[in-house]
Symmetry: C2
């Protein structure tokens, strides 16, 4: 945000119910998931990645995808996204009544093979088929390019590979391109390089998905906004973790992102206090200390009581 | 880092032994502090804020300032900084053999009064006296403007107030101006505004001190570098906390900052692996889970073993 005029608004896509809960070992009840989503909607969220339509044996946390979709509020103007990696998943997502399909194509061969049992070429073909059927079914379609900033198996991922995938997914009918730093390795310079490369091949809206695995997620998000990102993914509470680093933290937290955006003069339409409440709700379900910091530190400017006088001297 | 050419280098000032340990409730032995500093020096650190010369009743964590200075390695080209808030502290710092004095002036009346029992005007006068005596004693002098990004008691701090203090401290003989986000409320837009305002009144090198209290510290640090900051404070492990928010995290972590700088192409001269080791050393002494994330997540590109194959599907 340091240079130029920051964009006046960005859309926050809440992914805690999907990417957050998927990567927590604790299984959360369907009722608790729905309560989490309801609290997020109360906080103003209007686009929620609610669940993932993948094989329940591979992702037991998402085995209740249909039940979650049957229970979420449908009269509040919310667009619900289901994550899909194959046609079987799309069939389920269509039947469950999602509004959008988020279809993943991973930008490295090894990771693509391990994640969904396909080569990149097969995943792009599959994207074309899924995209056409999803649009026929009335869904908005996002192509998420996984591991855009780096692969846990192959290391660096060429920017040209990501741009090529973005171009092919755009040609195959995507409504939006999402670039995901799946393992949380990117820095703002990577964001700038990817924006340049992808902007050269498509005018589709760009969405970004950052993990704060190495404490670069918020810097990346603010840079993406300054470069015109239309949407940012985040999870209330910062739940999620990383499957490749068991002790690592997860998605950037919605409330911390919202704090930074508000102070940067960027509009996003969410209530910070209610976001902190929604995060606390799921933190209690998961029985964990949330990676999000706003709930611990408090808002600013905020009312610090006189009793919290600083007594130790020599602050800096 | 998104725009323009990033500077090629920045100096990292390690403040874990002072601001880190000062804000941890656990008292660490003098020997452990010296071992921490030795590990940091082994990692390449050449500027260390080693201790604070304040009243031991107010800051018991720093009561062994003289003993720490007597034990640190003096043959490795390291410049040791002592934090000072009054003349008595300067006397002690000079006697203890520090290389630099970091003198704090807080940018809000209430906080200045609570922190060091003076008005801002008195603190500026005091800075002039301390600065002159310190320079006479051969020390380099930094003016740290505390609460430059916001005050826990008064809320917003005008940029003009910070710039005015910077100008007065520069005129009174500072060698360097440090702008401190003492309570971790700033965002990159604040950094840009402060750099503009302070650059208009002084050409002294700018140093920045960020806390990651609300997850904005790394974005701020990278922005400061992109705008020409000469030095950044950080604490190995991210130890420190915030006296106003008991559950909050502390300074930005040296190893996480180093990761982001390295990937951004900015030189800083430290060994990441050894930094993680130094952080682990003090984490063990403090018996805490470090706020720093690199030690948990691992470096990148890094060697992920085949056994860490991703088995759950549908990553993004």
């Amino acid at each position: 945000m340091a240079s130029g005029t920051p964009p006046s608004a960005v859309e926050i896509v809440e992914v805690g119910p999907r990417d957050g809960l998927q990567n927590e070992s604790t299984l959360v009840s369907t009722a608790a998931k729905i309560a989490y989503i309801e609290a997020l909607v109360d906080a103003g969220v209007r686009r929620v990645e609610a669940t993932s339509f993948v094989h329940p044996k591979r992702v037991p946390q998402m085995a209740d995808a249909e039940q979650v979709m049957a229970g979420v509020p449908r009269d509040r103007g919310v667009s619900y996204i289901g994550l899909v990696v194959n046609e079987r998943g799309l069939d389920r997502a269509l039947a469950a009544g999602v509004d959008e399909a988020n279809v993943v194509v991973v930008a490295s061969e090894t990771f693509c093979q391990r994640n969904q049992g396909m080569s990149i070429a097969e995943a792009v073909d599959s994207f074309g088929t899924i995209s056409r059927r999803a649009r026929d079914g009335g869904l908005r379609v996002t192509a998420t390019i996984g591991a855009s900033f780096g692969c846990p198996f192959e290391g660096e991922v060429p920017v040209a590979t990501v741009a090529s995938l973005a171009r092919r997914c755009a040609e195959a009918g995507a409504d939006e391109i999402a670039l995901a730093d799946t393992i949380g390795v990117g820095v703002p310079a990577d964001v700038a390089a990817l924006v340049d490369a992808v902007r050269a091949v498509t005018d589709l809206p760009l969405r970004f998905h950052f993990h704060n695995t190495r404490n670069t997620g918020y810097a990346n998000a603010l840079t993406a906004v300054s470069l015109g990102a239309a949407a940012l993914d985040s999870s209330a509470g910062g739940i999620g973790g990383c499957p490749f680093a068991p002790a690592a933290t997860g998605n950037i937290a919605t409330e911390d992102l919202a704090y930074a955006l508000r102070r940067s003069g960027v509009h996003f339409g969410l209530d910070l206090g209610k976001l902190v409440g929604a995060a606390a709700l799921i933190g209690k379900e998961l029985d964990m200390t949330l990676p999000a910091l706003l709930g611990r530190a408090g808002d600013f400017p905020g009312a610090l009581s006189a009793e919290r006088a600083y007594a130790s001297g020599a602050a800096s």
